[in-house]
Symmetry: C2
Subunit: 420 residues, 2 copies
């Protein structure tokens, strides 16, 4: 590195970190293909399981030398992190070991694809390199299905997960109309409601779309109240004879307590004991139990029991192999933009951010922002995207629609003449 | 009807029943399009919510008169039951009301799309009509994601649900390789293991595919043993550092008790109380808890906690809007075959069954079997499709592969040179 340059060419390294997405490998491919054609770059290396692979002795690395352009496209189209990911949250000591490994490997360009924790890792490594006078450029490429990075209009990975949720709610709403009842679907996004909000895209825009599911949407940004929830469900059910509900896994009450905790306490004497909080099906099951025990319905089924079901969409949201085309393209471009910024020479570090260049037609632009503006911060749904306590706004719909790609069309019986 | 023919034309009616599928509307379209072109057919009617709509006064019907061929294609491509479905299990008195409604509507052709309960409804209506000298032809069109109908090689709906599970396991296995740990996915099919078995298609056939997930498959046909399960997981984890598991929601122990019941009893003192049996996330959560408390691992993560996650794929399996092309085509053809059989005049009733005409190239044929051969019976996975206590056989893979359509390709790092 700076202290002992053994040749004119320096190596570059790229890693993937945090929860994977359907397009994180597009960003990887973008970084690799931009580096492969660049002047002054020696080996293009990948970290196995993020910085964790750099702390091993010997370092766990992958050399992209023998990967053809065709193979790189196959990698790009594969969901989840090709190189392996990591949940490590490195401190200064950890990053010192990372830096030592980078020096040993003659690396001067460091690219890290991930969320806000990953941009923080990037920041620590970069600051440590500067303190020690090591000539290392550190660039962060954004990635998160939660869409919770500051400075970004949206993040690579979000649109594909949003597409999955929109398609799932569309199809599940047809199922719910076939066999009417209450259907609760629990969605990812512990702190930010963007991914839960995307369920609203399932409604479409045609005639009568205001009656299409999801009928109720509960975001982590809006305090959740059990009584109000029950009243909401009763109201929709009375009107339509069914109710499809989108719930964020991170919903909290007005005191900021996770609803999964308060619900299982409240239901202790009914049916549940101490449900483990990390059990991914637990919130859906607890809400279904609440509906079964509290929702009152008049008419409709007569003596029939109210049909209540809950699904938790889980990890399929972030890995389903049908990425949004816009998302795939932007994730690739974000990777290339990071290389461009690193080679441009103006900045020693930075984070690529996607911003909206134009609304109609939709167009994105890629800018470089400071790592400290992104690192370890969380973005939430802006108030203008939220409507009341159980819905999203038209503004959100307009914002999200161009991101998810073409959605399937559904034939709903209400659109046809001849019905009863 | 026979007693008072008021014209030379008679009406036909079609209904959908039981759990919907991604292609049940293809069968509906097949019935409707075949009837529309047929001689001697008057109105083509649909029952709203199956026979339930016929018991209402007035009957809840849909007239297909104004539905164009293009609209019928849109309906065919929409998942879940366009006409609405029903879970009613009619007895003789209920069927008498159904028959009375059919006479009022001048219906002589009755088509019912559904599973084994639906074929039983068809049988009761048909027998009652014969007893009363009513000239009614009753034909059943098969439908079930569980693939548990007798006389059928496979049933419409199964292949699309199998495709979803195969794609989900493929993508989820990449996620599990990114952030290694134990991943449990709970799948539909309470009594028959076909849908859980379909997860095995995710392994693919390339070099090293024997190490691709799912690594363990637990079917309802094979008694489940907690201790053996723990040993299985430990063995896979020791070898690969991760383990992806497919579990049928209907797994039972050697005494025929549902595992969800025995597991929550066994864990009562640990973390769970009385988990409701119908809670869809409960089995996955309980198995994850079992793994966390019992699985011992050596090496690998060192002091790190074993990562254990569970997802329950739920209703998305039966409604995901990306049907298998083979399934869509066969479901449509099954609907048309029912009309052909009904108009052919040889039989007053029957059930269409899909059988395999040829293995290579794959080709299906449609035959008419007796309602009593299908009604209220359940088919299980044949022994030749099962391997050991935690896998499916090569024969199953060969049987299932032509049904699910083209699956995405995944780039796995082990296939490439330059790795570590």
């Amino acid at each position: 590195m700076a202290k002992s340059p053994s040749s004119k060419k320096f190596n570059a390294i790229v890693g993937q970190s945090g929860g994977p997405t359907a397009v994180i490998n597009q960003s990887l491919a973008g970084v690799v293909e931009a580096l492969k054609g660049a002047k002054g770059i020696g080996r293009v290396l990948g970290m196995r399981h993020g910085v964790n692979g750099l702390t091993k002795e010997p370092a766990r690395l992958f050399d992209f030398k023998s990967v053809s352009a065709g193979q790189l496209n196959k990698i790009a189209g594969t969901p989840s992190a090709f190189l392996g990911s990591s949940r490590d949250k490195p401190d200064a000591e950890y990053c010192a070991r990372v830096l030592a490994a980078l020096e040993r490997e003659n690396v001067r360009y460091f690219f890290y694809i991930g969320g806000n924790d990953s941009s923080d890792t990037c920041r620590i490594v970069s600051e440590l390199a500067q303190q020690r006078g090591v000539d290392l450029r550190c660039f962060h490429v954004p990635k998160t299905v939660d869409n919770d990075l500051m400075m970004n209009d949206h993040t690579p990975g979000y649109a594909s997960a949003a597409r999955f949720n929109a398609m799932a709610f569309m199809a599940d709403a047809m199922d719910n109309a076939s066999l009417p009842g209450i259907k609760i679907n629990v969605l990812m996004g512990r702190h930010a409601g963007f991914l839960t909000a995307a369920a609203a895209l399932a409604r479409g825009t045609g005639k009568g779309s205001e009656n299409n599911g999801p009928h109720l949407i509960y975001l982590p940004e809006v305090p959740f109240d059990n009584e109000r929830f029950i009243a909401d469900v009763e109201s929709v059910y009375a009107r339509l004879g069914r109710c499809q509900i989108a719930v964020s896994e991170g919903i909290q009450d007005a005191q900021g307590r996770a609803v999964i905790t308060t619900l299982t306490e409240g239901l202790e004497k009914d049916a549940h004991g101490n449900i483990q909080l990390s059990g991914v099906g637990a919130l859906g099951d607890a809400l279904a139990e609440l509906v079964k025990s509290k929702v009152k319905t008049n008419g409709g089924g007569g003596t029939k029991k109210l049909r209540v079901r809950a699904d938790t969409f889980g990890y399929l949201q972030r890995c389903w192999p049908d990425a949004s085309p816009v998302d795939a393209k932007e994730a690739r471009a974000a990777g290339r933009a990071a290389v461009k910024a690193a080679l441009g020479g103006k900045e020693m570090s930075g984070s690529i951010a996607i911003q909206r260049a134009s609304e109609r037609p939709y167009k994105a632009k890629f800018v470089t922002v400071k790592l400290s503006d992104v690192a370890a911060k969380t973005r939430h749904m802006p108030a203008e995207f939220i409507e009341g306590h159980n819905n999203v706004s038209e503004k959100f719909i307009r914002w999200a629609t161009p991101l998810v790609g073409k959605l399937p069309e559904m034939a709903r019986i209400g659109e046809f003449r001849g019905g009863a």
